[in-house]
């Protein structure tokens, strides 16, 4: 059973109660069908209301769920003949990012994504999905390869952020991220980015300059983690819940701010409840996005990407008579 999330507790309690009643009924041979039916109706109402009115913090919990499907999970469901490719040819192979070639249906593609571990051992190997410069440089190498052979690129975004470490700084974390942003802007092939978990700041964006950027319903994308924001704003990391609400980091928020293209619906309760069905949801959006982008010329792809990012932001002018509240 998956680790319990705080906001799901009432649901789990009700489920437990129903299970108890059922076994009690069998044991004592008493007819409790009506009561059970009542509770089941109540459960379904509760599920609907819980999952349809999820608070930002609830989504953060789901986005970080230990069993949330990762890049490699989705690769397994969405692509065939995936061959993983390693290394940046400069320093090493960063397992916090995976990438390779595969077929999407009959189309050769390049797939790249941040990769978290599923357990402590794997997390240590993958540095909890927090890349070093060599990870970003591997990603860029694979993107350039995709461009050379005219393959569309699909990026899965799922990281708390680029790793803040001494070695990362020495090897140019800033430059690695910055270089990806600039080079992704100029790619002559379709680029589709999908935020599947946490989109943590520059470390996420370094795989995120695409023609389309989609987000899973319960994923997040932010300039700083809610904990980091709370620490700066209120000098108290435990206010993360409050920060999650004010920072506008959920998929619906980003859609409203004009940053992402589509929200990919999640299965009830989060992608981890049914990765296969979740992949089907992604598949539908991916296919229609690709179909559209494949009709565009190289110049059109670059221009579309330019226009997309050019219009992000909100500003005014001195004479707009902005009212200071």
């Amino acid at each position: 059973m998956a680790a319990e999330l705080e906001f799901e507790r009432p649901i789990h309690e009700l489920e437990k109660k129903i299970a108890e009643l059922k076994s009690f009924m069998e044991e004592k041979e008493i007819d409790l069908t009506d009561e059970i039916q009542n509770l089941e109706e109540k459960l379904s109402r509760l599920e609907n209301s819980t999952y349809s009115e999820m608070k930002p913090w609830d989504r953060v919990q789901i986005a970080r769920h230990a069993e949330r499907p990762t890049t490699l999970d989705y690769i397994k469901y969405l692509f065939t003949d995936f061959i993983e490719l390693h290394g940046d040819r400069l320093f090493g192979d960063d397992e916090a990012i995976v990438g390779g070639v595969a077929f999407y249906k009959d189309l050769p593609v390049t797939v790249i994504g941040h990769q978290r571990g599923k357990d402590t051992k794997e997390n240590l190997r993958r540095n909890f999905g927090m890349p070093h410069p060599e990870g970003y440089r591997k990603a860029l190498r694979l993107m350039k390869q995709a461009e050379k052979f005219n393959r569309p690129i699909i990026c899965f975004i799922d990281t708390k952020g680029a790793y803040p470490g001494k070695a990362a700084e020495e090897r140019g974390q800033s430059e690695a991220i910055a270089r990806n942003l600039v080079e992704m802007a100029g790619l002559t092939v379709p680029v589709i980015c999908i935020v599947i978990g946490e989109g943590g700041s520059g470390g996420a964006l370094a795989l995120g300059v695409g023609n389309y950027v989609h987000m899973l319903e319960n994923s997040t994308y932010s300039v700083i983690s809610p904990e980091g924001a709370a620490a700066i704003l209120w000098k108290d990391a435990s206010q993360a819940k409050k920060a999650a609400e004010s920072m506008r980091i959920t998929a619906p928020d980003l859609k409203e701010l004009g940053i992402i293209d589509e929200i990919i619906e999640e299965v009830k309760g989060g992608a981890h409840k049914d990765p296969k069905r979740q992949s089907e949801e992604i598949d539908a959006v991916l296919e229609s996005s690709l179909n559209h982008l494949l009709t565009m010329s190289e110049d059109e792809l670059i221009e579309q990407r330019y226009e997309k990012y050019k219009k992000i932001g909100q500003f005014g002018f001195v004479n707009d008579s902005i009212v200071v509240k």
Binding site: A162, P164, G165, K166, A178, V182, S201, K310, F315, I322
Partner: protein, 284 residues
Amino acid sequence: MIKGLFVKKKKYATIPTGKVKQDVPEGIMSKCPECKHIMVTKELKKNLLVCQGCQYHYSMSSQERIASLIDEGTFTEYDTEMISKNPLDFPDYLEKLEGDRKKTKINEAVVTGEGKLDGLDVTIAVMDSRFRMGSMGSVVGEKITRAIEKAIETEKPFIIFTASGGARMQEGVLSLMQMAKTSVALKKLSEKGLLFISVMTHPTTGGVSASFASVGDYNFAEPKALIGFAGRRIIEQTIRQELPDDFQTAEFLLKHGQLDGVIHRSDMKKTLGTLLKIHSEGRR
């Protein structure tokens, strides 16, 4: 009053000690925060705000920076009236902006425009750390992007002086996206074969360091400038070890191959002028 009898009168004049490490010199005399060397402020300003004792580079305002680089009377500023909104309805954000506007006499954390440097045309963006720590929100991103577009349109080189704590938190993910926005414009500039020089000044960190600051055709920095992606404290907490004193300084980056050079402020205009000349000859 009776109480007054017991209060001991101060015998000496006291010097207020509340103001520590005043970086921008204001009085008649200025004391270097590094070596405590005392200089006449007027002399210090004439010396491009560099301490004669230890060569400490004081922070420069955008106005001072432009005056130190651009030939007199040739500067035309772009987008002077563009100001930030409060897209996330952040408490106190608009008031803080208003306060910084009054304090700095500029409307946002970057000043952009065009002018001549040693007689050669340039488009220039100068960030100002006095305004919200030079942080990048929508306006900073937009102004820089427009300046790059202007450089593309007029086929002029683009020079940026960075000074920024990174992305502006109060505008959340909109700030983050300015990294992408400025990058798509820089790619276009590069594709046109136009020159881009980045000069990192103290401090250049976070989202600014991880976008335009690091991808110049030439990357330079001023001596001792703090440059880095993650904050020192965060790194120390993460790796649980002390970092070397010169960690994330311009000299540290130079040693690790991240910079083309560290340039003293007194050589800045000459170096940039020479590069511009080399590039203008090359294009003929």
